[in-house]
């Protein structure tokens, strides 16, 4: 038994054994318990997974049968897209935050210098007739609201107020997105460092801010996502509803 003699390599060995999945019985139970209680051990396991991962390149690739994608798509179909979206964004937030070790809470709040989206406005749409009542979205994770967004369709004014701590990463930007129900995310620009931000949206974007659309903030490279779609983790999200 490894416990009989103290060995400076012991945690590292156990981490490797666990990453390889060699352990069973009590040894496995001990490793599992340690994984949740000892962050250094957990890091060791993750490190070993990374070290050994290139071995998987040796495995011969094999095309799965054609109907496998249909099975997967059917399995996804069970959940309603809009709700599923929000719930899992929120659920995932805790997970990625625990991972993003370098991220710190940006205590004073975030900023709000807006870099307007460069993408050209394609379809001018008649928003005026939808001079609907104002809407709000509480953007947050499962623990707290972080940003309150209020949207006035009549004036096409979107006002964001930072309400809680925003996790941040050095040398990254927060980018604001609108995700129409069942649609793809569209950038509303990146955010800088104030407590409030006002923006007047172009018609094409304004039409996307309907009841049920999701407003989300993701962490992106400085200046925003280079691809036009979110590439980093979502730090806060919420659905628009009548104020």
């Amino acid at each position: 038994m490894s416990r009989e003699r103290p060995d400076p390599d012991e945690p590292e060995v156990t981490a490797a054994e666990h990453a390889l999945r060699l352990l069973t019985g009590d040894e496995l139970r001990d490793a599992e318990a340690r994984l949740s209680s000892d962050p250094e051990f957990a890091k060791g396991v993750a490190r070993w997974r990374g070290r050994l991962a290139p071995l998987a390149d040796e495995v011969e690739i094999a095309a799965p049968p054609d109907d496998l994608w249909r099975r997967i798509a059917a399995a996804l179909g069970a959940a309603s897209p809009a709700n599923d979206n929000l719930i899992s964004l929120r659920r995932n937030l805790a997970m990625w935050r625990s991972v993003a070790g370098g991220m710190t809470a940006l205590a004073a709040g975030l900023a709000l210098v807006l870099a307007l989206p460069q993408r050209p406005v394609v379809t001018p749409a008649p928003v005026e007739r939808a001079a609907a009542s104002p809407m709000v979205a509480m953007l947050g994770d499962e623990k707290a609201t972080k940003v309150v967004a209020s949207w006035d369709p009549a004036s096409r004014q979107l006002v964001l107020a930072v309400a809680g701590e925003m996790p941040s990463a050095p040398a990254h930007s927060h980018e604001l997105w609108v995700i129409p129900a069942g649609g793809k995310p569209r950038s509303l620009g990146t955010m800088g460092g104030g407590k409030q931000m006002h923006m007047r949206l172009a018609d094409a974007l304004a039409t996307l801010l309907q009841q049920g659309a999701t407003i989300a903030i993701s962490v992106e490279p400085p200046g925003g996502s280079k691809t036009g779609s979110p590439t980093g983790p979502v730090v806060a999200s919420g659905a628009l509803s009548a104020a």
């Binding site: 060995v13 490797a16 054994e17 999945r21 496995l28 490190r47 991962a53 094999a62 997967i72 399995a75």
Partner: protein, 188 residues
């Protein structure tokens, strides 16, 4: 260059971008991830499970998990293909263990939730692969073959010992010695 497509930086960026879209529930992006990665992940599951039906079940669950957990993928910590391949291996082994050991380890094996490899492999993957192979080659045969069997077959210590009729402590010492040498070699 003869790098596998999955380790090419552009392929990696493309996959990262797609996972970002999957995180906000873009089905077309999940399909694109599937098209780029399913042959590799199915290959890994087949190798471990040696059963097409079971491998397909695992791959199906895997992409449903990707759909639900894509937001937890952190590009600063691992390449997308490493994230996916590590998850595939662990899921296939979970399945193996449920098959081999009907009761004992199920709960514990299912508890393996944290499948993220570390930031270790943000380094160029091709370089990592070369170094790993060189370091594995430098190990004693017994150490190397047991570590490889554990990785590729999902064998536990006791299975390795039973299979070759070697005392358990002996197998453990081969593996442990090999792992420590491997680490020193990789960290050089």
């Amino acid at each position: 260059m003869d790098e596998p497509a999955s380790s090419h930086p552009n392929a990696r960026e493309e996959l990262q971008r797609l996972l970002g879209q999957v995180a906000v529930k873009d089905r077309a992006a999940l399909k694109a991830v599937y098209e780029r990665t399913s042959a590799k992940l199915y290959g890994i599951c087949l190798r471990l499970l040696r059963d097409e039906g079971e491998a397909q079940d695992v791959v199906q669950d895997l992409y449903v998990t990707v759909w639900n957990k894509a937001a937890s993928y952190d590009a600063n910590r691992s390449s997308p293909i490493t994230w996916l391949a590590t998850m595939a291996r662990n899921r296939a082994i979970d399945r193996l263990r449920r098959r081999r050991v009907p009761t004992e380890t199920i709960d514990v094996a299912l508890g393996v939730a944290d499948e993220r490899p570390s930031s270790f492999d943000v380094l160029e993957r091709a370089e990592d692969a070369l170094r790993l192979h060189r370091c594995l080659e430098a190990l004693e045969d017994k150490s190397r073959s047991t570590i490889r069997a554990a990785f590729f077959e999902g064998a536990t210590y006791s299975e390795l010992a039973q299979r070759d009729d070697i005392p358990l402590p002996t197998v453990k010492s081969w593996v442990r010695r090999g792992l420590m040498r491997l680490r020193k070699c990789l960290e050089q």
